[in-house]
């Protein structure tokens, strides 16, 4: 189907238009990469679900139709629907979806009211943001590893630099005996060894924990390949 100039996608008689509109919207409904549930606002039962909603929830359209929305996309209890009872707007808000396995999937949800065939319905549309959330958590974890590395290496290195300078002065001054100088040098050697070990451990943790999210070249860098 190709749109004619000035008439958009839909053209022809009223009857043809209706049929064509239904077909177009059915096509969009089926193919869009957003989960959509059409809900009866009075009973909160699911009237229709598109394939992505079926996929994300993990139930077929037949199983979904007739169920209440509380079971899947809204954890609110009966009588506490944010839209129909609390009269709130839900527009691009982070919410959770409970799939067939009972897992909670983070979603970005919008609820709009729409009139279809003369009746008002709630259109719940949502996208899965699990990957995005994982990436955010991963980012936070990496920052935490970096912070920990800095705190446990950079600051002590600053102190060690000062201590080594003092040690050089002590050796030059001749007030401290050889054993006292040796002990301090040994402490610094042990500390440096410990810091290297700490960095290796933190790098390995950063690379291996949920390592799928880290690009391979970064992972190789972390683990010192």
């Amino acid at each position: 189907m190709s749109p004619k100039a000035g008439k958009g996608l839909i053209s022809g008689s009223k009857k043809d238009d209706d049929a064509c509109t239904d077909e177009v919207f059915r096509g969009v409904f089926e193919k869009i990469q957003t989960g959509i549930l059409i809900i009866d606002p009075d009973t909160h039962t699911i009237m229709d679900a598109n394939p992505l909603a079926e996929y994300l929830i993990g139930r077929s359209k037949n199983e979904l139709i007739g169920s209440t929305c509380h079971e899947f996309v809204c954890p609110a209890k009966c009588g506490q629907c944010p839209i129909t009872d609390m009269h709130k707007d839900i527009h691009n808000l982070e919410r959770a979806l409970i799939n067939a396995k009972g897992e909670t999937i983070p979603i970005l949800k919008t609820v709009a009211k729409a009139t279809i065939h003369g009746r008002e319905y709630l259109i719940e549309s949502f996208i899965d943001i699990l990957d995005r959330k994982r990436a955010e958590e991963r980012k936070v974890a990496l920052i935490a590893y970096m912070n920990e590395s800095i705190m446990r290496v950079r600051t002590p290195l600053g102190l060690m630099t000062e201590d080594l300078q003092r040690l050089a002065d002590q050796a030059k001054g001749g007030e401290y005996d050889a054993e006292e100088i040796r002990m301090q040098l040994q402490i610094h050697a042990n500390n440096i060894r410990q810091m290297v070990r700490t960095l290796e451990e933190l790098s390995a943790k950063a690379a291996l924990e949920q390592g799928d999210d880290i690009p391979p070249e970064f992972r190789d860098f972390f683990i010192g390949k």
Partner: protein
């Protein structure tokens, strides 16, 4: 009043977190020790940084004899040095041995006969070489609780910006005051 070193700590059993630039940490340690001794408070120095033998020489140079303080030394064995027996010194195998460190603190706080005593922890920053920041925070919380229960003052020395902001905020809630050490000159005459 001197803004850099807690003057009221020996009298009021307060807990401090004292911060300084790395190049000023040594001066801060000496200044805090001198101030405590001058105020008639017997310090228990917990060192994860310098062995007792070196500390004793360093303090003697500053006019503070070994009869003025007690030491928990968690670094001599770590350096392979000899742990010379001394009733005023307890040795712990290494700074990550928090169990023994905790026991040594408890024992000394019980054994020290002096009325006015305080602990000087040297330093939180060096402890982080040996243990994760979360573990360090838990341990310091344990020490703080012990001091509060024993009504003993405590001064935790740390490098400025040497703590994770989260840990710093936790530590700030554990202690009574967080203070920045500027310079020994700003402290005025010590004796």
């Amino acid at each position: 009043m001197d803004p850099d070193v807690p003057d009221d700590s020996p009298d009021e059993s307060l807990l401090y977190l004292m911060l300084a630039q790395p190049e000023k940490v040594h001066d801060m340690t000496i200044a805090v020790l001198k101030r405590s001794v001058r105020k008639g408070c017997t310090p228990l120095i917990i060192t994860v940084n310098q062995p007792y033998k070196v500390l004793a020489r360093m303090y003697a140079k500053e006019g503070i004899g070994p009869e003025k303080y007690y030491v928990i030394d968690a670094i001599t064995q770590y350096s392979g040095g000899v742990c010379t027996p001394d009733p005023r010194v307890k040795y712990v195998t290494n700074p990550s041995n928090l169990t023994d460190l905790g026991i040594a603190i408890t024992e000394f706080l019980r054994q020290m006969p002096e009325q006015k005593k305080c602990i000087i922890f040297d330093s939180v920053s060096m402890l982080l070489i040996h243990i994760p920041t979360v573990t360090a925070s838990k341990f310091l919380h344990f020490v703080v609780n012990k001091l509060k229960l024993s009504d003993v003052s405590g001064i935790f020395l740390c490098v400025e910006k040497g703590l994770d902001p989260v840990i710093l905020s936790q530590m700030s809630t554990h202690v009574d005051k967080v203070m920045d050490f500027e310079s020994p000159e700003s402290m005025g005459p010590m004796e």
